[in-house]
Assembly symmetry: none
Homo-oligomer: 401 residues x 2
Amino acid sequence: MDFKFLQELLVPAQTKIVLLIMDGLGGLPLEPGGKTELETACTPNLDALAGRSILGLTQPAGPGITVGSGPGHLAIFGYDPIEYEIGRGALEALGVDFELGPDDVAARGNFCSVDENSVITDRRAGRIPTEVGRELAEILRTIKMDSVEFFVRTVKEHRFAFVMRAPGLGDALSETDPLKVGGVTLPVRALNCESEIAAQYANQFIEQARCLLANKHPANMITLRGFAKLPHIPTYPELYGLNSAAVAINGMYRGVARLAGMEVLHVCGETIADEFATLEKYWNDFDYFYMHVKKTDTCGEAGDFAGKVRVIEEVDALMSRLLALNPDVVIVGGDHSSPAVLKSHSWHPVPVLIYGKYVRPDGISEFGENACSRGSLGILPATHVIRIALANAGRITKYGA
Amino acid sequence: MDFKFLQELLVPAQTKIVLLIMDGLGGLPLEPGGKTELETACTPNLDALAGRSILGLTQPAGPGITVGSGPGHLAIFGYDPIEYEIGRGALEALGVDFELGPDDVAARGNFCSVDENSVITDRRAGRIPTEVGRELAEILRTIKMDSVEFFVRTVKEHRFAFVMRAPGLGDALSETDPLKVGGVTLPVRALNCESEIAAQYANQFIEQARCLLANKHPANMITLRGFAKLPHIPTYPELYGLNSAAVAINGMYRGVARLAGMEVLHVCGETIADEFATLEKYWNDFDYFYMHVKKTDTCGEAGDFAGKVRVIEEVDALMSRLLALNPDVVIVGGDHSSPAVLKSHSWHPVPVLIYGKYVRPDGISEFGENACSRGSLGILPATHVIRIALANAGRITKYGA
């Protein structure tokens, strides 16, 4: 997909687009011949909308590829997730709502247990309670150096996000976790010249952490993995001229949206209804809204088929509030599949509907995997969705005469 | 699309292919749940042919992109319309049946009105009648220079096609139209070294035009836009070994066909029936025929739903004459959509059927947008169509053992 080609064809318009993502939407039947979660759910509003929409199945990163939520979101936002890779460290920092800047190198941190010879005896420090993790993070925050800023943010239990901030740091850095009990924690090595200084800073941080944590067994050492800066991604305002906003509760999705140049709105509360209220509140202020529903994925990963069905029904019941705003284009889809029977993300293509005043409806009044597989969009790369939405929003002019 | 890969697999055959293009064929219903133009039209012959064909929806330049007829035709001819761009000036010259050569730089010309300070007071010279445009073009034709040939062809009203012919001219030239009333006409600037001489010629032409038109108010000046040479395009005989012909009445389509190396046949008359008569007349002389029906698009752009329906029915009634010739492969499709409700070209994928003795028919005896969305071809790039046609015509041999 050539951004430059598209950008030359973009024209302003007074139209509004809503992208509603149910995380891990795609599913599987519980038994052969059965229905998926989405097909099981009673969704009169989505079914009616489907009848006025074009349907298809999206693939975030090509056939057979299961993606994490990071690449899944990049894809449905229109970015090739293979070209624009978000490293694990950066995802971890985004996940705790850390506002990663262009000078930041992030990593996933673990507290771990080591013996007197620095040999790892427990890679997760006995899964210390999150509260203990927070106290230890406070201790790590006392580590200061003149030329670099360090940030430590507790994630959960033994996990934390680590960030180094200084101009010109590289992120080609080896990991310190030997990935097995019985191994020695490794020093950080620079994998290119630009990353030499970052390696020094990281090693100095680790040595100070070793001293500060010496008597904190089982959490008497740390490991750092997945060093990564944020990729530079052309933003929605730059690419599409879209004044765009994100409605999402969880940090990682807020982070990926911020990466794409969306303004991340404050949601009062934590329910899906609160998210729809946020959409209503800011409706007049933006051209494009990305809305994220997390619980479909949480249920899918937990193997909770019925729970995922209920979340989808909850979203369906709220659709009337969205449609009452009279959006010009509505996309309902997912970032990837998370079938409850697999208790994990999966490679299955994800149902999508695109509604607009000028779509040529498929005439299929049902929103489900099987219905979408019969839709006119067929199986399409998730990256195509934004283009079709922009066209239907009157934001792409004619190419050539 | 890799031409080289395909070319190595091509084999000669005694088969005939017909590509019948109804310009702007794709449409939209007048009201929700209604039928498109093509679905409304009574088309017993096309429906019967569809039942023996494979169906799909073509995209000329990817999802969401609306194309002009130039790129739309390049795509259905098998050329990537983004790689092979035909500039506006070249299209204007092709549109008046000017036989653009490889040394020619073409531009769109406008007569305009300027005041004594060269400030534009009317960018279209009050839309002078075409007859006045012709008289003024005669005047411009008196401009001569030794090292370059100039051509001026009236298009309509204040518009004309302008062509400079000399070896080695570049076409990276800035436009002279300030695009607003109150601006001064600009000189042509070369945007690269190869175009310096072309800029000089154009400016000398403009200065002579200014003198010759001085007392011809309101058409007392010209502007030139969209300077372009023809792209070099590998031709049908070169690419496919096809001895190919075009049956088209309007200049632009004749021009694009000529660019693709087709022999442009003379059509006696201006009706669609006259085009079918031309096909019959030359049937024995070529392997491949491109036939172009313009009025579907004209009606679509005029918002004339019923008119577009009638044109499609007129084509349907003539299909028996085409099929009586016993072609091996028949493609019926369009270069883009032009829904009457939008009164313009649009991004909607375009219905296509491919008939051949050895297709595996979809068993859908209906030719329409919805029927085609259920066809086995799905949504496909328009550039793929020629390959499927060649295969069905026995013109592609096996790859590998």
